[in-house]
Symmetry: C2
Subunit: 349 residues, 2 copies
């Protein structure tokens, strides 16, 4: 059980800046995110696309913004608990929240910051009736160990860099090789890097992997085991493709997730907050960034930054009860210079 002043849910740009703002008030935080890396949408949806409206940054990519925010919060770098979603939130008699994640991490948190944007990013599921009962055994959305595929007829479903990358990796393992690797995509055009496509082409010509165009529309089983995917091609013809493991990589999409069941006041799937502290209807839970709503709300990263600053002051009233937290400036405050680990007038190392 991890005790913490603050638990930030979501490691996107606003969650990261929330940690920085909490740090300036000497509030320690842990961070949970569903993705295996920090950065949220910026990394998942537009790592290399330009952003022009971060104030004082005329141009940066999503990846660069995340790198800058991580550099900025260095003095307060929190423990990150990645690849897990919050599954349980229960208020305790002492006012703290017991939080449990999908990986079994437990927290006792004085305050919670919902910075989960459009929601937790989840793999897009293969929608074939009945198939979901194989999830975790013969139907996988992520790779744990490559040795899990040893001796298997593997069908990799997808057409982006991630799908092609894993098809290539599995087709070229040194040990514990699969029996066969087939890449299946609904079109014969990939949404992937040109070099990656060339490498897949070379592997295919060399016979190390197969490529099929089509979609999984049904499956065959025998003795409770998945034995083949039934693939419908562009002409509507259906043919079985022997497979005992499906690795489905059709990208990620955000899901609001269990937040909807916490009893928070919501409006159109957004969490209602007051604009003084960005507190939700449950005292101790704050919501910042794209997940919240209030009159005038615009889903802008720069608004999330402002919200996180005011939310930190809201949390200070709970973390340091009865103590007034005054606004100090990073330019002049010796206390903040100490927290930031900088000498006055000296840039950080």
């Amino acid at each position: 059980m991890i005790s913490t002043d603050a638990l930030v849910i979501g490691a996107g740009p606003v969650g990261l800046f929330q940690v920085f703002q909490l740090g300036l008030l000497d509030i320690k935080a842990h961070v949970v995110d569903s993705l295996p890396y920090v950065g949220g949408q910026c990394i998942e949806l537009y790592p290399d696309k330009p952003i022009y409206d971060i104030p004082g940054t005329p141009h940066c990519t999503g990846r660069e913004l995340v790198a800058s925010l991580l550099r900025q919060l260095t003095p307060f770098t929190p423990p990150f608990h990645l690849e897990q979603e919050v599954s349980v939130v229960e208020k305790q008699p002492d006012g703290r929240f017991h939080v449990e994640t999908s990986r079994g991490t437990h927290f006792l948190a004085k305050t919670i910051f919902l910075a989960s944007g459009v929601g937790a990013f989840q793999p897009k599921k293969l929608r074939v009736e009945g198939l979901d009962r194989f999830e975790g055994s013969q139907l996988l959305y992520r790779v744990g160990n490559t040795s899990d595929f040893a001796g298997k007829d593997v069908l990799v479903v997808g057409g982006d860099d991630t799908a092609l990358g894993w098809a290539m990796r599995l087709a070229t393992l040194d040990a514990d090789q699969p029996k066969s690797v087939t890449l299946l995509h609904r079109r014969d055009v990939f949404q992937a890097d040109a070099d990656m496509v060339l490498m897949i082409e070379a592997l295919r010509e060399g016979g190390a992997l197969q490529f099929k165009v089509g979609q999984v529309t049904a499956y065959e089983e025998s003795g409770g085991q998945l034995t083949a995917a039934l693939v419908t091609d562009v002409d509507g013809n259906i043919a079985p493709l022997p497979a005992d493991t499906l690795l489905v990589m059709q990208g990620l999409s955000p899901k609001l997730g269990p937040v909807a069941g916490w009893g928070l006041d919501m409006e159109r799937k957004q969490v209602k907050v007051n604009t003084a502290t960005f507190a939700t209807s449950i005292p101790g839970i704050f919501a910042v960034g794209d997940i919240n709503t209030y009159p005038g709300k615009k889903k802008l990263i720069l608004s999330g930054f402002h919200e996180s600053a005011l939310a930190a002051f809201g949390a200070a009233e709970i973390v340091f009860p009865g103590k007034e937290t005054l606004l100090q400036y990073t330019t002049t405050s010796p206390r903040l210079h100490k927290l930031l680990g900088v000498a006055p007038d000296t840039p950080p190392a």
Copy 2:
């Protein structure tokens, strides 16, 4: 008379970002500021001091922040009307505002953005009873033309870079020289660049200027003309110093100025706004940054950035009546790319 969609009062960081946010909505702006340069407090109070809490910018000086914001608003660079304060604001029958400045510039503006921070920076006055009636003739707080000092006994009052710089300049003119230049400061230590102090020292040794320690506490006049300053030294002795022109440069301090008389709802010298659009109590006038107040307000630059974004949307309803203004993203919107002058996925030149 200048017609404009928006008039931004204050060219500090928030005023500059306000112009950028208006630009993204295709709203053209003019900017007025009391200082002779843009940047406001960032330049006037901490040009070389570090700021650590601009989101995504781990460290910058006031000067660097202003430079970045100017670079960011390049596609929308507005006409700047500097060294003048707004003196008159009158609502016209057609809903626009007639605005006049201390330099006689006239505007007809559909919307006004108060981004004037702690107020217009004004020269600190020399507090000597009766002396103010010479202001503009024999008592000056700024230099218009150096030739105004030709043949005069000039007393420069102050001890910072600006005061020393002007004393040096007047003592070394090629033409229209003053009869004499005396620098007066209350202490014999200057708050100025070491090189500047050395140059003043050299001029003093060469006899090109005099230096006295003391304060002007009274004056002498003859026939309605100022003839001498009465200077009290550190020991309390009073002596006349012949002078027919006083150039007083004791630094600047902010004054809220005539805003107080516009009829805006105020609270403790701050302008009350709603947090949906940062509109004031007068429709068409918005207030952003340190000048405004609302529940939870913190005087942070990053809050001003958020406020200016929402205020721009508030103004769009007035500038483009009956047209809904949708939020678009600089990362993806072809319309914004066109306004910003960038091709998709390409950084600006």
